[in-house]
Amino acid sequence: MADKVNPKPSAPAPGATPGRLGGLGKAELLELLRRMQLIRSFEERAGQMYGLRKIGGFCHLYNGQEAVGVGAISALDLSTDYVLTGYRDHGHALACGMDPKAIMAELFGKANGSSRGKGGSMHLFDAGRHFLGGNGIVGAQIPVATGVAFAQAYRGRAAGEGAKPTGATLCFFGDGAIHQGAFHESLNLARIWKLPAVYVVENNQWGMGTSWKRVSSLEEFHRMADSYGMVGVDVDGMDLLAVREVVAAARKRALDEGIPTLIEAETYRYKGHSMSDPQKYRSREEVDEYRSRDPIVVLKDRMAEAGLVAEAEWETIVKETDALVDESVAFAEAGAEPAPGALYEDIYATELQP
């Protein structure tokens, strides 16, 4: 039995099995905790590197929202499922298992970056890990993700109408994207064609500097699912296990019944919209309130209460993830600038006329 970080007595969660939490054993839970901490550490360092002007342009950090990305993606099978997101994409990329070295090098604009320095912060991709971006236009990834789900249904139905899709597609976007036509058109298409899509709106409370409350006709985003005959679910986005559970259920519904789901995850971004955001629109108290529900602390405390993480194990996670981020920065620093000839590469898959 591992040492308890927090020795105060507490009742186990209802339905909890000794030695398990949310149906997961210690090793799996530690891995989820590690992924969240890797994101946190990576984003802190990305912010520092931005300050040092190693990273330019737009850089949108995911601190505070880790439970949504890691929890949701942990419910997938990335050998058959796909993930798409918007421009705040470092966390989702890491949660898909993308190499932090290639990501940091991409933020640095180096040739050894994941997009060879052509994409930057908003355009991370990893074809092999089924991570399809990384999209800079608010909401534009939603029709694209719907098309990936269409392909999964299309391939499945080659075996006959009603046959199961080959996988499911998870699409993340923020509260700022939910009023785009792209969102509404996509949900309708997903429903009429019974596509295996799971849409996750990460309501981090602020669309840049605009409170979602000022710009939404509905107070509950998940109710928008009703307009399209889909299932709508809301979940505490600061609770990884809760997110994982609703996404797992939505994925199953998508695969088995062809019913898409809209999941509303309430969360919070600790940092500004981008690096250039002075954050005059929100109070220190509001930020502190959400920080008191920090997703990493929440999971770690629950694990500690259940005897599933010892302080030493946590310290090891912090140390190892920090070291990985150090390594990523070194990799990015050492990377070469793209060769001038790279300018005209990667534009077309088949060469143009000679």
């Binding site: 997009s115 298409l189 898959a349």
Partner: protein
């Protein structure tokens, strides 16, 4: 060799490619149960079923973007826009997604998708339904853009577009759907990026693409009757342009008339004129002429709408100016 319509040529290309490759599907408004707003997809639903020939709601942004996603994971969507006018609602998905996905991902993805539908002025349709938008697509790196002017090229270019691993925009023409022409019976592909010398001549070069080719050939006949030998180059593809063919004809005759039914500012035609100036300046005997659509929204009135478009008379007059002949 069979004489068939432009519409039938497109239909044959779609039919053959749907039969050849299960990853090809056709999607758009009215393409299935209605058999196509312009009957280009006639009979395809009956033959291939609703999985392969898919009716959509009226949601251009949505189904265009859906096609991009499907292409990223290996399908070969053919997205039909009822007309290019309505594709303006989907510009973001074409320009920001389809065209840039490969570059933004450092070459990780290809996007083998076709966007097609009628482009350019028709009749009595007024400003929103009658406009030539070639330059919107031709402007964008990452796209390929073809503009078949004959049934033979409609067939061969659409087949090439479907097999191409990059996004290809096909500019068809409502007025051309019923035009007839000879199409070889055996299967063939028309290469993307290659112009076609329609008529050899020595006095003046007439360079065009798409629907205006027909009137350009009539203009060449009219000029021949005056003793002027006009060369006619059909670009067929407007991105990438066949710069070598443009250079060659311009240097050969030294007098160039570019005909493009689009508006004149920042158009494919104006760019071709630039290429001529760049590549044949030392051989030019006259300023390059551009016969374009007039710089106005298309009016409804028939007389006015005809006046707003290129015509045989305008092309002949431009050629005469290039030849310093009295008009």
């Amino acid at each position: 060799m069979s004489v068939i319509t432009y519409r039938e040529a497109l239909n044959r290309a779609l039919d053959e490619e749907l039969a050849r490759d299960d990853s090809v599907f056709l999607m758009g408004e009215e393409v299935a149960e209605y058999d196509g707003a312009y009957k280009v997809s006639k009979g395809l639903l009956a033959k291939y079923g609703a999985r392969r020939v898919v009716d959509t709601p009226i949601t251009e942004l949505g189904f265009t973007g859906l096609g991009v996603g499907a292409a990223m994971v290996g399908l070969r969507p053919v997205i039909e826009w009822m007309t290019h006018n309505f594709a303006l609602l989907a510009l973001d998905q074409v320009i920001n997604e389809a065209a840039k996905m490969r570059s933004m991902s450092g070459g990780q993805f290809k996007v083998p998708i076709v966007f097609r539908g009628p482009n350019g002025p028709a009749e009595y349709l007024a400003a929103q339904h009658s406009q030539a938008l070639a330059s919107y697509w031709a402007h964008v790196p990452g796209l390929k853009v073809v503009a078949p002017a004959t049934p033979a090229d409609a067939y061969g270019l659409l087949k090439s577009a479907i097999r191409d691993d990059d996004p290809v925009v096909v500019l068809e023409a409502e007025m051309a759907y019923s035009w007839k022409g000879e199409v070889p019976d055996e299967e063939y592909l028309t290469p993307i990026g290659k112009a076609d010398l329609k008529r050899s001549g020595s006095d003046v070069s007439l360079i065009t693409f798409g629907k205006p080719l027909k009137m350009v050939l009539e203009a060449a006949d009219a000029l021949a009757a005056e003793g002027v030998s006009a060369e006619v180059l059909d670009l067929r593809t407007v991105r990438p342009l066949d710069e070598a063919a443009i250079r060659e004809t311009a240097r050969k005759t030294g007098r160039v008339v570019v005909v493009d039914e689009s508006w004149p500012v920042a158009s494919v035609g104006s760019h071709v004129a630039h290429l001529v100036a760049r590549d044949a300046f030392d051989r030019l005997d006259a300023p390059v002429e551009l016969v374009s659509g007039e710089d106005v929204p298309m009016p409804y009135n028939h007389g006015l709408e005809l006046a707003a478009q290129p015509s045989v008379a305008k092309i002949v007059a431009a050629a005469r100016r290039a030849l310093y002949k009295e008009s």
